[in-house]
Amino acid sequence: MNATAYIAAAYGTTLCALVLFWVRSIRQRIQLVEMQQSHLRTQTTQS
């Protein structure tokens, strides 16, 4: 393996993991916001 392959491996894995970490956080937020909205709808229907 040459230096470029090592550099690409290091930066590539970090970038992929960082993007995945971000995407996971945003997906979690979307789920929570959707749950909150559905909960609000239930409350409105009941009242």
Binding site: Y6, I7, L32, V33, H39
Partner: protein
């Protein structure tokens, strides 16, 4: 929705969105513009990433320490929201310190891994961050969870000076400090400036991630409270 409830948006704050492109720009500068090292050749460019990951993991442990002390001393409830996101981000950077260090170590030292003092103490840091997360999810009661995790948070921070001094206390494979040392840094100014730029951008990304995930936890606990109130009102029980 009650007056005290917070309505978070899905999209992150603009400065949070900016943090990732800024990090990529600083990486590109380190990869393509800074001159090649005369001794190590091109492979030294991994160090911009490796060192910034390590300093991030250490800085996050300092933040965790402050939050833990506040939790134990003043019984601060913010720890319920901030504790886990801080530990998750700390674990992320510690794992990447080990991975990038290993990738750099193979062409430089000839081995992927060795039980060197610095590598071992950094590995212990990763285990402690992971232990924090396990403990967080294992506890039933939030007060017990906060206290036990806060104690572990303090212990995590105690490992950082040991990691830093490990290369001086035990002379093993890892080289001694090359930035914070008497007689000044051994790196050339353009390399040092690039490292600082990558470090600042990585810190910004970490702050953005921790803030976003802490807001998620706040939203989660708010939702749990609302669900509980709804269930209680359906059963006709007093809150």
């Amino acid at each position: 929705m009650k007056d005290g409830d917070i309505n978070f948006k899905i999209a992150p704050h603009p400065w949070m969105i900016c943090s990732l492109p800024l990090l990529l720009i600083s990486w590109a500068y380190g990869l393509f513009i800074v001159p090649t090292d005369i001794h190590q050749g091109e492979v030294y460019r991994i160090l911009f990433l490796h060192v910034s990951c390590a300093i991030n993991a250490f800085a996050i442990s300092a933040v965790l320490f402050v939050c833990s002390v506040q939790c134990l001393w003043k019984n601060n409830t913010h720890f319920s929201y901030w504790g886990l996101p801080i530990a998750e981000t700390g674990l992320f950077w510690t794992i990447f310190t080990l991975i990038t260090g290993s990738i750099w170590g193979k062409p430089t030292w000839g081995v992927w891994w060795t039980w060197d003092a610095r590598l071992t103490t950094t590995f212990i840091l990763a285990l402690m961050y992971a232990g924090f997360m396990v403990l967080w999810h294992a506890a039933d009661n939030s007060s017990t969870r906060n206290k036990s995790c806060a104690i572990l948070g303090i212990l995590i921070f105690a490992d950082v000076p040991i990691i830093y001094k490990s290369v001086s206390w035990w002379r093993t494979l890892h080289q001694p400090p090359s930035i914070l040392r008497t007689g000044g840094a051994t790196m050339s100014t353009p390399m040092l400036m690039t490292l600082l730029a990558v470090l600042c951008c990585t810190l910004l990304v970490s702050a953005a991630l921790i803030r976003y995930r802490a807001q998620n936890r706040q939203l989660e606990s708010q939702l749990e409270q609302q669900m509980f109130e709804l269930e209680s009102s359906q059963k006709g029980e007093p809150l």
